[in-house]
């Protein structure tokens, strides 16, 4: 079976329209797999599967040290080893601060008394709703937990390359974002024509160039008198702008009620299909460049 491409959608900052694009694009296509990797604040479910809490779910676990006080001689080796200050000496007892622990397992290795074992702690969850046209997955970080990357890693094990894969990535330029877009064939960056939008777009472009990821831009909340902010920058840097979604109260209202807009505004289903065709072409172009 011929493989489909995988696409990641991201933005420099939240609230620029990443979810809007991911959801409307996914709904315009057939045989799609949509993965919401914005695990700190997943929102795609609101538009795709509002009852996701009731669907199939699995836990993402991580390991936390447990100290056997009978064996512990208070030698401090584990406390000194931990780079994250997740262990501390209190009188003669080692305290574990589970939330700041990165689950590296180092303390267990350095303990000369075999006093450390590990137990599982839930870091997040994956939700799954396999619908007629969309196979939908969502990663979710538990509140109070800090590390999004392992949840995204687990989510990505669900990728099905026989489908058109769309990954809604976390915003920004740090590790969770990079984890979400790594190994995807192409990235679409959503931005908006404001000084904030431009500033954050530049940060994302810097990151994408650093990891050599092929990408193009979609402008959301486009307005004739301010689009030049993004257009000038993209022209100077030879970045393709694939689509503009207009600034529209109607779109904002639909969004507020968790409604996709592709069938509410005329012609948009076709525009999203065309966008996908262009993305596929761009991705193929990049593949040719790489094999040359």
């Amino acid at each position: 079976m011929k493989q489909e491409i995988s696409l990641s959608i991201l933005s420099g900052k939240g609230g620029t329209g990443k979810t809007t694009l991911a959801v409307n694009l996914a709904l315009a296509l057939d045989n799609v797999q949509l993965l919401d990797a914005d695990v700190e604040e997943p929102n795609d479910y609101i538009f795709i599967s509002p009852e996701i809490e009731k669907k199939e779910k699995e836990s993402v676990m991580r390991l936390i040290p447990e100290i056997d006080e009978d064996k512990c001689t208070a030698c401090r080796k584990c406390v000194d080893f931990c780079e994250y200050n997740a262990l501390a000496m209190m009188l003669d007892n080692v305290l574990v601060f589970e939330e700041v622990c990165h689950s590296c397992g180092g303390c267990k290795i350095v303990c000369p008394e075999n006093a450390i074992t590990e137990k599982e702690r839930e870091l997040g969850k994956l939700y799954h709703d396999n619908q007629a046209k969309i196979d939908f997955w969502q990663g979710e970080l538990n509140t109070g937990e800090e590390k999004a990357v392992p949840v995204i890693e687990k989510l990505k094990t669900k990728i099905d390359h026989s489908r058109k894969v769309i990954i809604d990535s976390p915003p920004g330029t740090t590790c969770p974002t990079i984890e979400a877009i790594t190994d995807t064939d192409f990235t679409v960056v959503v931005t908006e024509p404001s000084s904030f939008g431009l500033h954050d777009l530049k940060m994302v472009v810097e990151m994408l160039n650093e990891i050599r990821q092929p990408f193009a831009v979609v402008i959301n909340r486009a307005e004739a008198d301010s689009d030049y902010l993004i257009e000038d920058y993209c022209q100077e840097n030879e970045i393709n702008i694939l689509l503009k979604i207009p600034f529209s109260r109607k779109i904002a209202e639909l969004y507020s009620n968790g409604k996709p807009f592709l069938d509410e505004l005329e012609g948009w289903r076709a525009k999203f299909k065309e966008l996908y065709r262009e993305i596929r072409e761009e991705a193929a172009k990049d593949e040719r460049n790489n094999s040359n």
Partner: protein, 288 residues
């Protein structure tokens, strides 16, 4: 001295715009931008940097190829998939700097080195001292850089005897947000009346409750969807979170932002709403 941190859960709800406008109306304050992933506050407050410090937040494993005997122990023990399977090289973007590979390496071919992850700036703005930072893209220590911004802001505030520290926090609910909130006297939650905004707000409320930080609510673009706005208000009331103000979905705000201006300078009604927030903060934090 009171520290207030503005957070939003969901990005794009107007957190930074709100913070900048609030800052312009407050007296005797230090401003900190803890949204180090997408620092935008300086675009509205136009601070002039007076000093820069290189921030070395993260450590990375660095390999000395001459000592490596290709035993593969580093690969076996690393839980972050940060060692390549083929030739045991460190993948910088995946390395968490935990030191496990250093510990298990039999030939001392690996060591941890501190690397530059960003810059910390002390600056002056029209409205007071401002501390902000820039993270190198791909660096994973935003939480540590956030803590540095807060430490610096607090030091400056103490030294200059300021009444307020106003922090523009990070979006989301993870490490940088938790670092932004740590030690704050109050959190201001900026949301919008959308189902996504509401969903994210509930998650961020769990975080402030978890860390036992009193919170106040701001509903931005409240007339975009008054039904959801009402639901948010009711939900927060039950959670004992006071409504500080509602801000309308307004062209003035969009246009002010496009011009890099503050909306309180362009609209009297919006200005009055922001002034009322400060009155409520005073009551909540000083009289209590």
């Amino acid at each position: 001295m009171k520290e207030i941190t503005v957070i939003s859960g969901k990005g794009g709800t107007g957190k930074t715009t709100f913070t900048a406008n609030l800052a312009s109306l407050m007296d005797n304050l230090v401003i900190g931008d803890c949204d180090v992933d997408a620092p935008n506050l300086h675009l509205l407050l136009n601070p002039v940097n007076i000093s820069e410090e290189i921030h070395k937040g993260a450590k990375l494993a660095v390999k000395n190829q001459d000592l490596c005997i290709d035993c593969g122990k580093c690969y076996d023990y690393c839980r972050f998939n940060a060692i390549t399977a083929a030739d045991y090289q460190v993948k910088n973007l995946k390395c968490e700097g935990c030191g496990v590979c250093v510990e298990v390496c039999p030939t001392d071919a690996l060591k941890l080195e501190a690397i530059e992850t960003g810059s910390l700036y002390q600056a002056e703005s029209k409205f007071g001292e401002m501390i902000h930072a820039r993270l190198i893209p791909g660096a994973d220590t935003s939480g540590k850089l956030v803590s540095e911004v807060k430490k610096k802001a607090s030091a400056v505030a103490k030294q200059k005897n300021k009444d307020w520290i106003l922090i523009d926090g990070s979006p989301g609910i993870g490490c940088p947000v938790i670092a932004s909130l740590t030690g704050s006297d109050m959190a201001i939650l900026v949301t919008e009346p959308t189902l996504s905004g509401f969903s994210d707000l509930k998650r961020v409320i769990e975080v402030v409750k978890h860390f036992k930080i009193p919170a106040g609510l701001v509903i931005n673009k409240f007339d975009l969807n008054e039904k959801i706005g009402d639901r948010i208000e009711r939900y927060c009331k039950e959670e004992d979170i006071e409504l500080l103000t509602k801000i309308p979905y307004s062209r003035v705000i969009v246009e002010s932002l496009q011009k890099g201006e503050l909306f309180v300078d362009n609209d009297q009604d919006l200005r009055a709403r922001m002034t009322s927030v400060i009155a409520k903060l005073n009551t909540k934090l000083e009289v209590e």
